[in-house]
Amino acid sequence: MGLSGIEIFKKLPKTNCGKCGVPTCLAFAMKLATGQAELDACPDIPDAVKEEIGEASAPPVKTVVIGTGDRAVKLGGETVLFRHEKRFENPPAFTLLLSDKMDEAEITTRLKKFNYTVYERVGVVLRPELVAIKAESGDASRFGTLVEKVCNETDAGLVLMNEDTEALSQVARSCSNRKPLLYAANKNNFETMGNFAKELSCPLAVKAGNLEELFEVSEKLIAMGLKDLVLDSGARSAKQAFEDQIIIRRSALLKKSKPFGFPTIVFPCEMADNLMKETMIACQMTAKYGGVIVMSEIEGHSIFPLLLASMNIFTDPQRPMAVEQKIYEIGATNESSPVLITGNFSLTYFIVSGEIDSSRVPSYLLIKDTEGLSVLTAWAAGKFAADTVATFVKKSGIEEKVKHRKLVIPGYLATISGELEEELPDWEILIGPREASHLPAYLKQLKI
C-alpha cells in the first residue's frame, strides 16, 4: 500500500495506449492504487519502475501462489484485519494430508475423494485445494513414489513436506513445474532450503518453534532474496495458534513487518484426535487468518461446512451476491405447481428456495434480476417495479410451463399488486407471506 493513484501515475509511461485494458494511464493508476489491477497488465513499464511501484503498492501480506494453471491457488494479499474494513481477498486453501506411511489403497481412496469433492454455490466453485505429502517413513524412495502418484492422479497444487533437505530437493526437482510449496526451511537449514527454493522458483514454507524464531528466519530468507514465503509459527494448540495468527497479521498490517508479511500454514490435523474437533479448529483458522489449512481427512460432512464458512467470511461485504435471473424448479413441478417471484439477492434465493423445498410443495421460483438487492431495497431502487416484473414474467417462459395464471409475490410488496395486475392482465396476483419462514404453511394451504 502507501502509494496513491497520482503517485503511481507519475511513474507510468503516460502514453494512454490502452494496452492495460483501461483507456488511460491515470485510470490504470487509480485501479492499481485500489488493488483492482495488476501491475503486469501494462507491458510498457520499465522493470526498475515496476519493482519500485510493486514494492510500494504491494499489499502488506504478500500474495503467494501455489500450483499452476487452473489449479493455481493464491494466498495472502490481505490488507485488513476485519472483513468489514474492506474485504478479505483470498480464502484459505483446505489441504489434504497424505503420508508416505499410509498404504497405497488408502491413499488412492483419499485422493479420489479429494478430487471429486467439488461444490458449486451461487456460481462459485468450492473445493479443497491442495494436497500435502509428508515424509514419515524415512524411506526417500517411498516419498518419491508417493509424490509421483499424486502428480499423476491430480492437477491440484502440492505441499511437499520432508525434513530431509536432500530427499526433498530431489523430489521437488522432479515436479518443480507444478510450483509446489516446499516445507520447510528452519533455523538450521534455511540457507540450503532458501537457495534451493530460489533455484526452482517455488514458494517456501518457514517453520519455527515460536514467533521470535519465525521472525528471524523469515528476515534472513528475505535478505537472501526470497519473495514467496509461507509462515508456520510452530503453534500446535488452538489457543497458541489463534494468538500467533493474530500477531502475524497485525504485525504485517500495523507495523509493516516484512518478515510477517506472508500467508500462513496451519495444522488442525495435528491439533485434534478426531475430525469433528479438527473441523472446529479449522473453522477458527478460517475466520482468523489461516492460509494453507492442513486437514487429516477430506469428508463431506466436515469440508462442506468449512467451505461454507470460508465463503461467508471471504464474501466481499460491499458487493451483494446475486444469483442468475431465471426460473428455478424446486421439486417435481408440473403444470399446476405454484409460481412465486422474488429478487436475486443470493441470500433471498437460498432462504426462499430452502423454505419451498422444506414445504415439499413442488413450485416454480422466478428469480428476477434485482442487481443483488433484497426485495425491499430493490423495490425502493426501482428494480422491482411492476413494469419490469411484468416484462420478466412474460419473457421468462413460465407461461408455457404452467396452465394456471397465479403469481405469488413477496408479502412486503403488497403495494405493487394492483399495478402488476394491470401490467399482467392474464395473471392473478397473490400476496405471499412477509417472512420466508411462513412459506411452507402458506404453500400447503394454497389452492391453484
Binding site: F82, H84, V118, F242, A287, F304, L347, G354
Partner: protein
Amino acid sequence: MAFEVPKVSYTGKIREIPLGREGSTVTVGGESCYSFHLFEGEMPYTPKIAMEVYDSEPEDWSDTALEPFADVIKDPVAWARKCIDTYGAEMIALQLASTDPNDKDISADEAAKITKKVADAVEVPLIVWGCANVEKDTEVLKAVCEVCEGKNLIIGPVVEGNYRAIGAAAIAYKHTVVASTPIDINLAKQLNILLGNLNVPDEKIIIDPSTGALGYGLEYCYSVMERIRMAALVQEDERLQFPIISNLAKEVWKTKEVKVTEAEAPLLGDLGKRGILMEALTAQCVLLAGANILVMRHPEAISLVKQSIKDLMTGK
C-alpha cells in the same frame, strides 16, 4: 529489527451482566479485549451456551436434532430438565414458537403458564424467546414477565415496535431484556439508547444483532458483531458495551443442508455429523466475532463448542 507484539489498547469494557435469579446467577460479559485475545486483555466470564426447549412438540425437525430429545419432546419441563441433568446445560432458552399467529397461535395466557412451569422447574437462567411477531410478542412477553416476577428471565426479542411495553414489564417484574435489531450497528445502538431512556437498567440489557446460519448470511451477523465489539472496546461507544446473544440453532436447523440425506447428496457426507458441524461451526464463527450467549440445540454440537471455548481460554 526486533520483533514486537503489536497490541491493541482497549479503552472500553463490556458490562458484566448477572443472569437468572439471586443465589444462582450466571454472569456474562466483562471482556476488556476482543474475543479470546487473552494476550492483551481479559475475559473474566467464559461465553455460555443456552440449550433450546420448545413450548410444544416441534413438527419439522430433522431426525438428527430430534433424536436426543425424543423422550421429552412433548413436555417442556421434562425437556428442560433433561438438558440440565443429562447434558449439563448452563442456561435454558424456551422458544415460544407456538405463539406464532401463523403457527399454532396459542394464547398469551397459555404461553405464560408453560413458561411459569419451566421457570419453576429449572434453577439455571431462563431465556424466553417469542415468535418475532411484534404485536403477539408484546402480549405474550408481558404476560410472561408478570407470572415470573423476580426470576430475572432473559426476555426477547424486544424490538423497536414493542420495546416500551415489554421494557416497562421487564422493569416492573425485574427481568433482563434482549434488544433485537436487524443486522445493523446503528439500529442496535439506537434501541439500547431507547431502552435506557425508558429506564431499563444497564445491567438488564443484552444485544441480539440477529443471526444467520452458516451459508445463509452468517457473514452479515459476523461482521455486525465484530463492529459492535470494536465500537464498544476501542471507540468507547457506551451504548454498545453490552454482552451479545446469538439465537442460532433455529436458523441452522431449518436449512436444506442439515436435512438432505447422504443418499440424495453423497458429496455432503454423513447427515448426522454434518448437521452437528453446521451448528457447531455457526457457533464457532459468532463466538469469535464476540457472542457471549449462544442458543444451541444438539448436545454434540454443544460439546464441540464447549471444548473449543475451553481450548481457546486455557490452551488446554
